[in-house]
């Protein structure tokens, strides 16, 4: 009919169309991650870094990004142009396009990229936890991209160092050190959680593991035999570890229970310190 473009659509049918359109276009965001590449224990911040260009491993599969991109936008595109309401289509276009930009990158990236990313994440977590930096006031954000590789290496390293310094019973020393540190981290985390603190289990494990780094350095230096040097070095390392752990733990619990949460952490580090001094 000649009036088709001047007669406005019936309001109720317009809203129905909008609803269906929202249903279609909300699908990608609810299922696929909308953030830029989110690898396991993601280290890439949400804000500004653009997703790396998709690189394809040489395999028998054709690159999956192209077929993945095509069905969605093509299904969503035809309904959009005839609709006269301007606001909805532009918003949903941007969501669907950014939603599809990211996932294939982590699923099809080369192995070497994954390795490099994990290593850089360990480094950045270490810097965040152990060294002074501006994020310490907001601990929850600082260790958001937790990972357990760093703590694993540090615990094993500490166990190996202690075992190396021991002249007898090397195996027991290692086993005791490893079990003490691992079980200690778990129990300390449970302690914080039971005190009503808001901390995520793995984040806290990761934190307590990274805070072992100063003690690792101390144990390495303590391989010299002089007792006085050992005591000084261990005291410094202990102070550093406690300083590193303090903001995260204390911000997680009720201020009145801060001491209850912090004391066991300090106790554990002190006992590890004694272990380092006493080993000969």
């Amino acid at each position: 009919m000649s009036h088709s473009d001047t007669i406005p659509l019936n309001p109720s049918s317009q809203s129905d169309i909008d609803e269906i359109e929202n249903l279609i276009n909300s699908y990608p965001t609810s299922v696929l991650p909308a953030r830029p590449p989110s690898p396991p224990r993601a280290s890439i911040p949400v804000s500004s870094t653009p997703p790396p260009p998709p690189t394809f491993i040489s395999s028998n599969l054709p690159p999956p990004t192209i077929p993945e991109h095509n069905p969605m936008p093509s299904a969503a595109a035809p309904p959009r142009p005839p609709i006269s309401s301007p606001a909805v289509p532009t918003a949903t276009t941007s969501i669907s396009s950014s939603g599809f930009g990211s996932p294939p990158n982590t699923l099809t990236e080369p192995v070497w990229d994954t390795v490099k990313r994990d290593f850089s994440r360990i480094g950045s977590n270490l810097k965040l936890v152990v060294f002074p930096n501006p994020y310490r006031e907001d601990p929850g954000k600082a260790l958001r991209d937790w990972d357990l590789w760093g703590p694993f290496f540090f615990i094993v390293f500490l166990g190996l160092t202690l075992s190396w310094s021991a002249s007898v019973k090397k195996s027991e020393v290692f086993a005791v050190a490893f079990a003490l540190l691992a079980a200690g981290a778990v129990i300390l985390t449970l302690n914080v959680l039971l005190l009503g603190g808001h901390i995520i289990f793995f984040q806290s494990l990761s934190l307590l593991g990274y805070c072992l780094f100063p003690l690792d350095v101390g144990a390495l230096i303590c391989m010299v035999d002089n007792v006085i040097v050992k005591i000084i070095v261990v005291a410094v390392a202990l102070a550093w570890s406690s300083w590193a752990a303090y903001p995260f733990i204390s911000s997680a619990v009720n201020p009145r229970r801060k001491a209850l949460a912090l004391y066991p952490v300090l106790l554990m580090y002190v006992s590890v310190g004694f272990l380092i001094i006493a080993i000969d």
């Binding site: 009919m1 088709s4 659509l9 049918s13 169309i17 269906i20 359109e21 249903l23 279609i24 699908y27 299922v31 696929l32 991650p33 989110s38 690898p39 396991p40 224990r41 993601a42 949400v46 491993i57 395999s59 028998n60 599969l61 999956p64 077929p67 993945e68 069905p71 299904a75 969503a76 035809p78 309904p79 005839p82 609709i83 996932p103 294939p104 982590t106 699923l107 099809t108 192995v111 994954t114 994990d118 929850g140 958001r144 991209d145 590789w149 694993f152 094993v156 190996l160 075992s163 090397k170 195996s171 290692f174 086993a175 490893f178 079990a179 808001h198 995520i200 289990f201 793995f202 984040q203």
Partner: protein
């Protein structure tokens, strides 16, 4: 049970997928014959297990079955488990032999570690229980993660199907309204 006909699509990846698992198990079994020191047994076995965990989670899971899982902490400070899979067309194209190998070796390794755990508990060797416990935890973590990921992928498949139906439905409505 064993799919025949096609060959492995990614033989190198399959090899690595199996390599670290087998190496960890073999080292654990044979180490008692060669090494006296528990420390070496512990460190090497746990290291191989951890490497295997990383390989399965980041490499062979992606390439052999097109699945990936991880944990994120969102802005509210809550931990969210994310599951990701390739789009349905690529998933359908995955090599059957690859995925058969992937899943079966995953399950078999966990069963083997459980067997060793029972064995060491019976013998009251606490330190070996520790080793086996760590390796078992890593295997089970991968199994749980990938199983959840697969279920999520199936849910996505259903959602995708209903979504295409909905989009076709709405496009018919659009064309119906524009004709008027």
């Amino acid at each position: 049970m064993l799919p025949s006909g096609e060959n492995y699509a990614h033989p190198k990846i399959c090899f690595f997928h199996v390599l670290f698992k087998a190496a960890a198990l073999a080292f654990y079994i044979l180490s008692a014959l060669f090494f006296d020191s528990f420390v070496i047994i512990f460190v090497v076995t746990v290291l191989l297990s951890a490497l295997d965990f990383w390989v399965v989670k980041n490499v062979s899971g992606r390439i052999l079955v097109g699945l990936r899982w991880w944990n994120e902490i969102n802005d509210d400070g809550e931990s969210v488990w994310k599951f990701e899979c390739l789009d349905q067309e690529s998933l359908a194209r995955m090599n059957k032999k690859d995925s058969w190998l992937f899943w079966w070796t995953l399950y078999l390794t966990a069963v083997a570690w459980i067997f060793f755990a029972i064995f060491s508990i019976i013998r009251f060797q606490a330190d070996y229980v520790l080793v086996v416990g760590v390796c078992l935890t890593l295997s089970i973590a991968n199994i749980v993660g990938f199983t959840k990921c697969r279920k999520d992928a199936k849910k996505q498949l259903q959602a995708f199907a209903t979504q295409t139906i909905a989009s076709r439905f709405s496009s018919t409505i659009q064309s119906a309204f524009s004709v008027v």
